[in-house]
């Protein structure tokens, strides 16, 4: 049984401008020790999905339906105080901007200690020792001194390491990382991703990595989910989705990236239009207004997520053979562009 199973999740927010369909029927699963990458642009619903797993979307104007099963227990059904025990202890989360995500007025050691003492009855001294061990493990130099530092005294890379340390200090079963490297320089990003991989190997933690960067996904994920407008467009093992993509949105994403091999003399192939508003999601397949291969059925009927090869599912009305053909072409064009 998968460690985390999200079943038909729907999250809607009632706002002044209308109902925002942030997550619209998402089903995902993560196995122990594996990495699930969720890729999508702004408004794809990937962050809201993660926050809902953590129980951080229980707002007065939110409607949440579906199931989020952690080892068989439905987190959505848990009362707030029970969920609080899970949050941070069994499922931890790190966010995009480590400067604003750490409290500016408390020392690092204090914040780490608090994370520990929120869930375990340990003395201050013991908590401090564990905090020190956590900082050492994430590779922070002079960790004992850093315990007395404030977040603004550290560099961006260091701060993100602290966040990772704080998330992993209680050895959670799942780590959710929401755009953990977007705000960092590319060389620091490489360090951080390396660190997460190493820690995952040591602790056996499952990782859910949320990003808009397909390159990051290609290098870290075991499984990939491509999200668009609150729904899953394509889901499958990394090799399948990246090397044999079968959804027009995935093709568009791959082709619009200026890669290391792309030719300078050719223009890029962007996706026409812009991501839709989640208040007025297009009918049928949400991607149809931007899809170069749109069929008459696409605006009428929302495509179901159907399996195409083992473990690889796609939500698209195009015939399978055609999808595979186009997917192969897209893939080939990426390789041979010089």
């Amino acid at each position: 049984m998968a460690l985390l199973e999200i079943q038909d999740l729907h999250v809607r927010f009632a706002t002044r401008d209308g109902v925002v369909h942030a997550v619209d029927g998402v089903s995902l699963s993560v196995d122990r020790g594996r990495t699930l990458g969720i890729v999508g642009e702004s408004g794809s619903g990937k962050s809201v999905t993660a926050l809902t797993v953590m129980g951080l979307t229980r707002l007065p104007n939110a409607t949440i339906e579906g199931h989020v099963l952690l080892d068989g227990v439905d987190l959505l059904g848990l009362p707030d105080d029970e969920l609080q025990k899970v949050r941070g202890r069994r499922v931890a989360m790190i966010f995009q901007d480590p400067l604003s995500s750490l409290h500016p007025l408390y020392k690092i050691g204090w914040q780490l200690g608090e994370a520990i003492q929120a869930h375990e009855h340990v003395s201050d001294k013991a908590a401090r020792a564990r905090a020190l061990a956590a900082l050492t493990e994430v590779g922070i130099p002079s960790p004992a001194e850093r315990l007395s530092s404030y977040p603004h005294e550290l560099s961006g890379g260091m701060r993100q390491r602290v966040m990772i340390a704080m998330a992993l200090v209680l050895d959670p079963e799942i780590l959710i990382a929401d755009e953990p490297t977007t705000a960092l320089d590319v060389t620091v990003q490489a360090q951080i991703l390396d660190l997460v991989r190493a820690l995952q190997a040591d602790h056996g933690t499952a990782v859910v990595l949320i990003t808009h960067d397909l390159g990051v996904i290609a290098e870290t994920a075991d499984e990939v989910a491509v999200m668009y407008a609150g729904r899953i467009a394509e889901l499958g093992p990394l090799g399948a989705v990246i090397d044999r993509p079968e959804h027009p949105y995935t093709w568009g994403l791959l082709q619009s990236l200026p890669g290391a091999e792309t030719s300078r003399s050719e223009p890029l192939h962007p996706i026409d239009g812009a991501p839709p508003s989640l208040i007025s999601v297009p009918t049928g397949c949400a991607f149809h207004p931007r899809c170069p291969y749109v069929l008459p059925v696409c605006p009428a009927k929302q495509p179901a997520l159907l399996e195409t090869t083992a473990g690889h599912t796609v939500a698209c009305h195009l015939p399978t053979a055609l999808r595979r053909e186009i997917g192969a072409e897209v893939r080939a064009s990426l390789e041979t562009r010089t």
Binding site: M54, L56, D80, D81, Q84, K85, V86, R87, G88, R89, A92, M93, F95, D97, S100, S101, L102, H103, P104, L105, Y106, E114, A115, A118, H119, Y150, H152, M163, M166
Partner: protein, 319 residues
Amino acid sequence: MLRYIVGRILWGAFLLVVVSALTFLIFTVFPSADPAALRAGRQATPELIAQIRHTLGLDRPVYVQYWIFLKGLVLHFDLGYSYQNSVSVKSQIFTRLPVTLSLTAGAFVIWMLAAIPIGVISAIRPRSLLDRATMGAALVAISAPVYFLGLIALFLFSNDIGVVHLLPGAGTYAPISVSPWHWFTSLLMPWCVLAAAFAAFYARMVRGNLIDTLGEDYIRTARAKGLSERRVVMRHGLRAALTPVVTMAGLDIGILLGGAILTETVFNIPGIGRYAYDSIINSDLPAIEGTVLFGAFFIITANIFVDILYAFLDPRVRY
């Protein structure tokens, strides 16, 4: 940091000199009652007035008068003698200082004890019925002037003229050394009246700051750590939201220490504010200078103190 403090203190001293000069200037330039004539009384002859003028040194040129004053202030810390009754201004102010301190301290405690819980509750449930009610009441409290509230309070609760004979009325202040209970009850109404507007203002400020703070990313992290909502609001949210509030309070205390003139007048409390009011009425320049300088001193000191306090409260601020 030490350099910073020393620099501020020097600058503050300079400001005090400027303030004293400006006060002198305003007094001499703008028409006011002749202090000598006031001192002389009703049956004053011109000779008597002239004699008094000479005694008080008012017949000398303005800059000489100022120079004498400044010398006395800087060298002897002497504020001169009242035109009205030749009593040392300094002694008058120091006698009254504990009174103003009592009034300020008590009001401060009450307004903070009221503002913080109200602000927090309103911030946790913005736009709820409770929030709208408290903020509406706050608006009323801010709009009502102190003397209006003070008179209403006296009318309702004071021992002598009030509807309900609950608390001692105006003019019944007794120092704490004489009778702690009496001191307390006589200040209760003034405290509440003075605190009302501040409490309202601060409640709105706490609410606003806390709402902003609760939208910050580090609050999301705190929740993600699995902390109780109570802890998230109080330890993470309030701690950040209160920093500017505390510094604002420091400044307000500095201003109040210079004398809450209206409150002291309505309740007839012998504080520095009352003294300032009397000295203006009597064109008593030394006393005016004294109260103005004291007020300026407290404000300048409060400013320096608050800036340094901010550096302790927010580690990102460094001098």
